[in-house]
Subunit: 416 residues, 2 copies
């Protein structure tokens, strides 16, 4: 297995102006060809630090991928520092000059003088053409090790990686195959999943298992490595079977997809419709469902009934019920779901009522208490959840729980 | 100036599963207290590499900020590796145990056994409470140097940085003063702002100006550096005055705040209320407004009227008007806003109708066309926007434009 690392260069990455999405993209592409990225080092446009980063990377990696700092302005020093590190000198390259000149001519723009500097390239480097910009890529060799240098502009870097760097790395990285499978779970804590996978070491003989939690649930990533594609497939299949046996009831998708995308697919496939009545989530569930292209096929309408009056007027929740049980109660959640379904004439009515916080909680009904309910032609079910103390987190957790209740209702999974 | 660097720990960061947005956020916050971040090192959940990263960082930094790998599962090894590096041993901490236990009890969930491990903390570390999760933060000292260790979950890390780490670093970061002022603008392109600030070099003599664009608008960051607070304040005041003179009409806030927070403050202060009728944004505007704590004081209700039928039934939009002008039209937007206001008996009615895409566009009404309208006791106004071709971007741009129209209506800023 060849050891690969990334050096991302640019002041903008260190002051929060730009998020280093290049490194994430490169890591994912490397994984797909069986290379596990070891390190990403982010450093500013600073000679001494770039030199130090190169020395450290060279001491432990076979291949270094450098991005950024190849632009034409004064703060772009990457090319000069690499020449210093590799003992190269800059020479004029007529071909690059012509290419850059032609780019500007085509766009009807006079070429600024600084752009001519792009044609000055290190004498000992292999030059990689840049189809989409003016800064050429470079590849330096030092013994068995090599260093690819690419622009930081994402689409220029990506094209160079896909066309030139990845094919070379793939052929150099040997024969082993890595395969990945994702399980998406929700409504279960990371620690509970961990305990349910009680014989993890046995599972790990087939696949590496990673737990990736967020407010929306825990994503499980299974990775199988083997010398041949067939062996990797066999290992992955073993791991997938074992994990599914243990935690299958919490899995809502067999690939890296959102719960709203799964619910949308189910409804669209069955030609069924839903309407959503939200109190504490304030429109978040409707917003999530309508993020899916084509949602007008299954999403009929939503009501954000923040005031009690709106629950009474729009959903026919009896005022006496709100007075007796409170707006945050199972009775009101059920009445909202039924009222929503009836009013909108949809297959499903989904409803949420709760206390998002930070204020509005009582000893009996604390912040984070949420009732969700789902109605269909057979009746309605509800769940009671006690979430945490942060408003936005509570909204997201409640929205996700509601979508999961809808999913279970659609699939007629037994209500627990 | 103290030298600070970040070590981001997590396999998910190296395989493209998670983009390292934590480091960008931290870099920006550090800059605001006058600290220029030097390095970010990203490394997997791997003992040897984490140890190496710590040794390298320690050789060049005064302060190391570590995030990630503090979860309760087997792949979270950060705490153990730090103990090894600093020669600490784990001891049971009753207070942390009680806090974690209470978190689970409050939510009515049985605490899994692995969570008890969160109460095992390094004996020599200063423990930083985690308000929003189970993994406590830690601070190790070694001579004059120190290392803060925080969870990788963004909102947990951010709370810990704001409450505990940044105040300590600020007081340690020495004598030169950096002052920052943010202007929030919306409804104007970055390049237009740049041209309006026609004499930027003159302004830059007082302050550095950065343009930070997003789908919600362009944030302008003004930074003044000086040896004394008084001199920095003078410079900042000069820069603020000059920038405001040039682009004041696009500024909705004088600090880094969201437009919904500004609108919420205006409505709350004036004891006025709003109701929102959304078609293309599908609940996003309601969701944004109800993200603000206390929104029940000014947000009465929202309607997500995705189907034509729901526009007719819930907002009294005449069917003939939809047939004549189409659902995406200024007439329907105005009728929705008026209908919403009348139905909810609020001070303002806000409405949006448009084509979010990717499908549903025509030559006459292309994807990205959005009409927004706002009604008050005097009548209603509308705006026509032509956004781009991506669904989620269009929803966000439209929601932001609607909130800005509401802001202008509240402040009686002339409608353009």
């Amino acid at each position: 297995m060849i050891a690969v690392e990334i050096i991302s260069i640019g002041d903008e990455l260190l002051i929060g102006q730009t998020i280093n999405s290049n490194a994430a993209w490169m890591g994912e592409r490397l994984l797909e060809i069986g290379i596990h990225l070891n390190w990403v080092t982010t450093v500013g446009d600073d000679r001494d630090r770039i030199l130090q980063a190169l020395r450290i990377a060279e001491s432990r990696a076979d291949v270094i991928l450098v991005t950024g700092g190849l632009g034409p302005t004064h703060d772009d020093i990457t090319k000069h520092v690499l020449c210093e590190h590799y003992g190269a000198k800059l020479v004029f390259n007529q071909q690059i000059y012509d290419q850059v000149f032609e780019r500007f001519q085509k766009r009807g723009i006079t070429m600024a003088k600084v752009n001519a500097d792009q044609a000055m390239v290190p004498d000992i480097a292999h030059i990689m053409p840049n189809k989409l910009g003016t800064a050429p890529g470079m590849m330096f060799r030092k013994g068995p090790k090599c260093c690819y240098v690419m622009p930081g502009v994402p689409f220029e870097m990506k094209a160079m990686m896909i066309d030139q760097v990845l094919p070379e790395l793939k052929s150099a990285s040997g024969s082993s195959t890595i395969l990945v499978h994702h399980f998406m779970t929700t409504g279960v804590a990371e620690s509970t999943l961990f305990e349910m996978l009680d014989n993890l070491p046995a599972i790990q003989q087939s696949v590496d298992v990673a737990f990736l939690p967020s407010l929306f649930g825990v994503k499980l990533r299974l990775m199988a490595k083997a010398e041949s594609p067939a062996a990797a497939e066999k290992r992955l299949a073993e791991g997938v079977t074992r994990v599914r046996e243990k935690v299958g009831k919490f899995i809502y998708a067999d690939e890296d997809r959102s719960l709203e995308a799964i619910v949308a697919e189910l409804l669209t496939h069955r030609q069924e419709t839903v309407a959503v009545a939200e109190s504490c989530t304030g429109g978040m569930v409707a917003n999530m469902l309508t993020n899916i292209p084509g949602s007008s096929h299954f999403f009929n309408r939503g009501i954000v009934c923040y005031s009690n009056q709106s629950k009474i007027e729009l959903l026919n929740v009896p005022e006496s019920m709100i007075l007796q049980h409170g707006a945050v109660s199972s009775a009101v959640a059920l009445a909202m779901a039924k009222g929503m379904r009836q009013m909108a004439q949809t297959d499903y009515g989904l409803a949420l009522t709760g206390i998002a916080g930070p204020d509005g909680g009582t000893a009996e009904k604390p912040v984070g208490l949420v009732f969700i309910a789902c109605a269909d032609h057979q009746g309605a079910v509800y769940e009671r959840h006690q979430f945490a103390n942060d408003r936005l987190g509570n909204k997201q957790r409640a929205a996700q729980a509601a979508l999961n209740l809808l999913r279970k209702k659609i699939l007629e999974i037994d209500h627990e």
